[in-house]
Amino acid sequence: MKKTYYDPADLKKFSSITEWSKELGDKFFEYYGKVFEEGALSAREKSLIALAVSHVVKCPYCIDAYTKDGLQRGITKEEMMEAVHAGAAIESGATLVHGVQMMNKYEKLSM
């Protein structure tokens, strides 16, 4: 029995998910590849967005993959950390904006 749920070596096996559902797997990887192509946004910008989202969804595989992708694209560590903060700010903002709900409920229930 493995001691952890995550194994870095599993990232290399990602494409094997198609083995148990070829059509859906193939469609997913085709879509995934298309998303990260150069478009209205540059591949570089998309890489930084992916890095920020990787942190927000707390996916260790994605963090490894997009840190490496950023290095390959010459993205600096300052740019990477700012992207992580952008993700973190939205995530904490999403928590804090519920404070308004709390305030509303508090006011409604109070005399």
Partner: protein, 351 residues
């Protein structure tokens, strides 16, 4: 950051046989990854054969003023292998009749060879179409006797190709040594001042980008755009093209990969990025590499692995292009470095 070559430190990787053994074992022997031979055989590209000799790349010595952590030559101030004038003369005799259109001088720091200027003067009389010197930039600033190199290069219409791993100081200095970034910037300004790299200038100045770590280079064109923007905006520097080169897993870069426990992942990245289209134009198919002592190799990397050409002609004194072109190119797993993604060569991508 190393301060001495693997040779000087008597590191086991100074032994080329040890390097070849590592490249052939582990993940490549248990079937986890295909060998380079197996991989190119899948697309009917084995054995790898030369097309036509277009580039004569001459390594005039392993001595260098820098000790870069990724250096595939294991160059440094402690390396004493230097091409003699006699061997240079043998090279000149070949340059006279070769069909190659490009002469490419490399090292070490080629300028540190005491006969470097004589060799450039003599070779430039022979009418080579593209005469490249791979200059590490800091050499220009290293000592007063090198300060006039930009003018010397200009006089002989040398095409200068220089390394610049990143546009930030931290990344550059970690790979190439403290102070390298600032000195490189000063040297680039001196080259620009005599006309090198300026828009519309015939004095060609290209930069080499190679990753400072265990990752591959991506899109050469977008890297060039980034380099141009920052070097111009921050330092007022111009250059022509950026060549992205993949670090091959040999010598000091192999040492780094193993020590940092990145070797297997790096080899996986190279194999995953294998591009059959890059195999057709890989530089060993149009280049002959000459070592400081006149031996011939398929490329500078095979030279550093001690793999002499598989041909009856093995030395510059016996040079014969027809015989040389009828050979099988020697390969091992380091070759994956030249076929990853858009491919990699001393002239950048190959697809």
């Amino acid at each position: 950051m190393p301060t001495q070559s693997l040779h000087k430190r008597k590191n086991e990787l100074a032994n080329t046989e040890k390097q070849l053994e590592i490249l052939s074992n582990g993940i490549f022997v248990n079937g986890e990854l295909p060998t380079f031979k197996e991989k190119i055989a899948e697309t009917g590209q084995f054995p790898l054969r030369p097309r036509k000799t277009e580039i004569l790349q001459i390594n005039v010595g392993y001595m260098c003023n820098q000790v870069c952590s990724h250096c595939h030559v294991d160059a440094g101030p402690d390396r004493k292998e230097i091409m003699t004038r006699e061997t240079m003369q043998q090279c000149l005799d070949v340059i006279k009749y070769t069909g190659a259109h490009t002469l490419d001088l490399t090292g070490g720091a080629p300028e540190m060879n005491p006969s470097f200027r004589w060799f450039v003067e003599e070779a430039s009389k022979l009418g080579v179409k593209d005469f490249i010197v791979r200059s590490n930039l800091t050499i220009i600033m290293a000592n007063k006797k090198y300060h006039d190199l930009p003018g010397f290069f200009k006089k002989h219409k040398i095409h200068v190709v220089s390394s610049m791993p990143h546009w930030t100081k931290g990344k550059t200095d970690r790979q190439r040594g403290d102070g390298v970034f600032n000195k490189s910037i000063s040297a680039l300004k001196k080259l620009n001042a005599v006309g090198y790299g300026m828009p519309d200038s015939d004095l060609k100045l290209d930069l080499i980008y190679n990753p400072s770590g265990a990752f591959l280079p991506t899109d050469q064109a977008s890297m060039e755009k980034d380099f141009k923007k920052v070097l111009l905006e921050d330092f007022g520097i111009h250059f022509h093209e950026l060549f992205a080169i993949t670090n091959l897993p040999i010598s000091r870069f192999l040492d780094y990969l193993i020590a940092s426990e990145n070797y297997e992942d790096y080899m996986y990245s190279l194999v995953e990025a294998f591009n059959p289209a890059a195999v057709q134009n890989v530089m060993c198919t149009n280049t002959i590499s000459v070592s400081w002592d006149g031996w011939l190799y398929d490329c500078d990397f095979n030279q550093m692995l001690g793999l002499k050409v598989n041909s009856p002609v093995k030395h510059i004194k016996d040079y014969n292009e027809d015989i040389l072109n009828d050979r099988n190119i020697l390969i091992s797993q380091h070759c994956y470095g030249c076929t990853a993604g858009s491919g990699s060569s001393c002239q950048g991508t190959v697809t």
